[in-house]
């Protein structure tokens, strides 16, 4: 083939997501350096799309808005379907509180936009193993055959698959056929299956579960990027973030296996293990809860948003990213979140007169909203709350660097709209509960340039 043919073939494969990283760089270089190549690329993309549309119309390709064909990587990745050959003994049926801070995903889903696989609806249906019992916010459900399901509603039956929370205020509750329930909240990704034994894989984020006694020899298995946990029947919370795994056990005990070296450990009540590569798995007593907390963005990245290291002119910051809720495409938020409890530090409990001080920058005057996610002492998800600045909004007073400081009083917090209709079992107010994470956003329809340098929790009002 001559050079032009090779170039066209490269462009053709680019349109189908078939390029390697090296080939992508080559395409970028070609386009950057050669106007004729840019013109050819646009013409070819246009021509290719005209042919594709015509052929697809001719072939009668179904355009089903509810079930869209998607790539295979999400549900067919080896790690996601790996059989868990755990040899753990079973665990006592008591409530435990587990917080896991874990490493990055084993596999980026970089091949998600792979060539479309035609999936007949009949194959997707399968036998339902769970039912949606509650959901709010931006969520994406991907069924076992890689079908993305946009039509989420309470009562919908699901086969195994992956549920993904796309925003810090996302919320999803699922009930298995045996009555066990699982809830994810925040930016999370949970894959689950039940073929006689429940197997869950928390790739990222947080979920809680209330598990009825499981069949003998078939405990629920929860896998995170770096650990495996077995549960016979209990109530617990799991949170997977980055780099390492922390397990806090409040009651009963849990057996944790570290995937890197195969070591396993039983963690008794009120003990913690921080599992990281080459680290010690010895359980340590849980630190007592504290009422004061301050973010440490200079040494600790994580959460939702773009982390910016400190510069001469500004401290390290979490910058808000644009987010359009799946169920409300007319809304465009600038949003960031910061995790709180469950890391190396002690758990954080809110007092009735607590207040949050937020320091950051904002390019334009805007209303700044503040949300928190809470859990009970046993780790069960307790709810989400929205802070209010009452009449002090929008924030329009800045220093010369566009910096701002605002204070949210806990007494002004109300139940977050996204869980307001699902209040059974959830707390009506946040004081006395454990703070899991917080998020801050603007809703201006365009980027507000929101970034936060620091969030500080003060137990009492500043006089």
């Amino acid at each position: 083939m001559n050079t032009n043919q090779s170039r066209d073939e490269l462009f053709d494969r680019h349109l189908r997501g078939e390029l390697t990283e090296v080939e992508k760089e080559l395409v970028a270089e070609l386009l950057d350096s050669d106007a004729a190549a840019r013109q050819r690329f646009v013409a070819l993309a246009q021509w290719d799309t005209e042919i594709a549309e015509t052929i697809r119309e001719h072939a009668g390709t179904p355009h089903n808005k509810d079930i869209l064909p998607s790539g295979k990587a999400l549900v067919e990745s080896p790690s996601a379907q790996k059989t868990l050959l755990s040899q753990f003994v079973t665990l006592p049926t008591v409530a435990v509180f587990i917080v896991l801070l874990s490493g990055l995903l084993y596999q980026q889903m970089s091949t998600f936009f792979a060539p479309v696989e035609k999936t007949p609806h009949s194959q997707i249906a399968g036998s339902p193993i769970a039912t949606i019992t509650g959901f709010k916010g931006s969520l994406l459900w991907t069924g076992n055959q890689g079908a993305i399901v946009l039509d989420m509603h309470v009562g919908r039956e699901l086969t195994g698959g992956t549920i993904e929370g796309l925003a810090p205020d996302s919320w999803f509750e699922l009930q298995f056929q045996d009555g066990s329930t699982a809830t994810i909240s925040g930016t999370s990704m949970l894959t689950f299956a039940d073929v006689g034994q429940k197997k869950l894989r928390l790739k990222q984020g947080a979920f809680t579960a209330d598990v009825v006694p499981q069949p003998v020899g078939k405990p629920m298995i929860i896998q995170t990027p770096s650990t495996v946990i077995e549960v016979v029947g209990t109530r617990f919370e799991v949170e997977a973030l980055q780099a390492f795994t922390t397990v806090n056990v409040r009651e009963g005990s849990v057996r944790l296996k570290h995937l890197v070296d195969g070591n396993a450990v039983d963690i008794p009540a009120n003990y913690r293990v921080i599992a990281k590569a080459g680290g010690d798995l010895s359980p340590m007593p849980l630190p007592a809860a504290e009422n004061y907390w301050k973010s440490q963005l200079d040494i600790q990245a994580g959460g939702f948003g773009k982390w910016l290291p400190a510069t001469k002119n500004r401290p390290a910051a979490q910058k808000a990213l644009p987010l359009i809720p799946v169920n409300n495409p007319n809304v465009s938020l600038s949003l960031l979140s910061i995790p709180v409890s469950g890391r190396n530090g002690p758990p954080v409990v809110l007092t009735p007169n607590a207040q949050f001080i937020v320091r950051g920058r904002l390019q334009h005057p805007a209303k700044i909203y503040f949300g928190i996610a809470m859990s009970y002492g046993n780790g069960e998800f307790a709810g989400m709350f929205r802070g209010d600045l009452l009449k002090k909004q929008p924030i329009s007073e800045f220093d010369e660097e566009h910096g701002f400081e605002v204070i949210y009083q806990l007494s002004d917090f109300t139940v977050d709209p996204c869980v307001r209709e699902k209040q059974n079992g959830l707390a009506g107010k946040p004081d006395g509960l454990y703070l899991d994470r917080l998020w801050i956003f603007t809703n201006t329809g365009s980027s507000s340039g929101l970034m936060v340098h620091e969030v500080e929790l003060i137990p009492e009002k500043i006089k």
Binding site: K24, V27, T49, I55, H58, P115
Partner: protein, 179 residues
């Protein structure tokens, strides 16, 4: 009120008229037809709700493209937590290329081209059409097409190139004749 309704109708009609161009752009960013269709569909919802922000007299295609870009990035964020540097570079280059060279077609022109493609597709030989359909409708790779049609990868590659070229020539001739 009537002015607003009229503007809405004008903007929507113009935006839907650019659908193929927007799909081409979305495919260039997403590398997947179904995902691109999704992004364009989401973008159209945004257009429907934000039509009053469009400044008449400016390019509807450029305005819609900026919305599609946002939707495409949102889709990418959903599935690819972090984009590689190469992906970011190619996305920026693609964006610049479309800004520079993409032009919209009017309705009649689009309709004529579509009719010409349909006409010419029917004139392809069975093997060529099968290869093309496998690639464009089923989204198969060279190897999968080869396995399905009993061809080597190289034969698939050559057949695709020849068939597309043949189709292109046929469409251009047809358009010349009909015009």
């Amino acid at each position: 009120m009537e002015d607003r309704d009229n503007k809405k109708a004008r903007v929507l009609k113009a935006a839907f008229g650019c659908r193929t161009e927007l799909l081409a752009y979305a495919r260039s960013l997403l590398g997947n037809f179904a995902a691109a269709e999704d992004a364009v569909q989401e973008a159209m919802v945004v257009v429907m709700n934000k039509y009053d922000q469009f400044q008449e007299g400016t390019s509807i295609l450029a305005w819609c493209r900026s919305i599609v870009r946002f939707e495409a990035l949102r889709a990418k964020r959903r599935y690819q937590k972090e984009q590689s540097l190469a992906q970011q570079l190619v996305d920026d280059a693609v964006d610049a290329a479309f800004d520079e060279f993409q032009v919209g077609r009017n309705h009649d022109e689009t309709a004529s081209r579509r009719e010409a493609i349909r006409h010419c597709l029917e004139r392809l030989n069975d093997r060529g059409r099968a290869v093309l359909e496998s690639r464009f409708a089923d989204g198969l790779g060279y190897k999968q097409i080869g396995d399905q049609l009993g061809m080597t990868i190289e034969a698939v590659r050559k057949s695709l190139f020849r068939t597309k070229k043949q189709l292109h020539s046929c469409v251009e001739s047809r358009l010349r004749v009909t015009s």
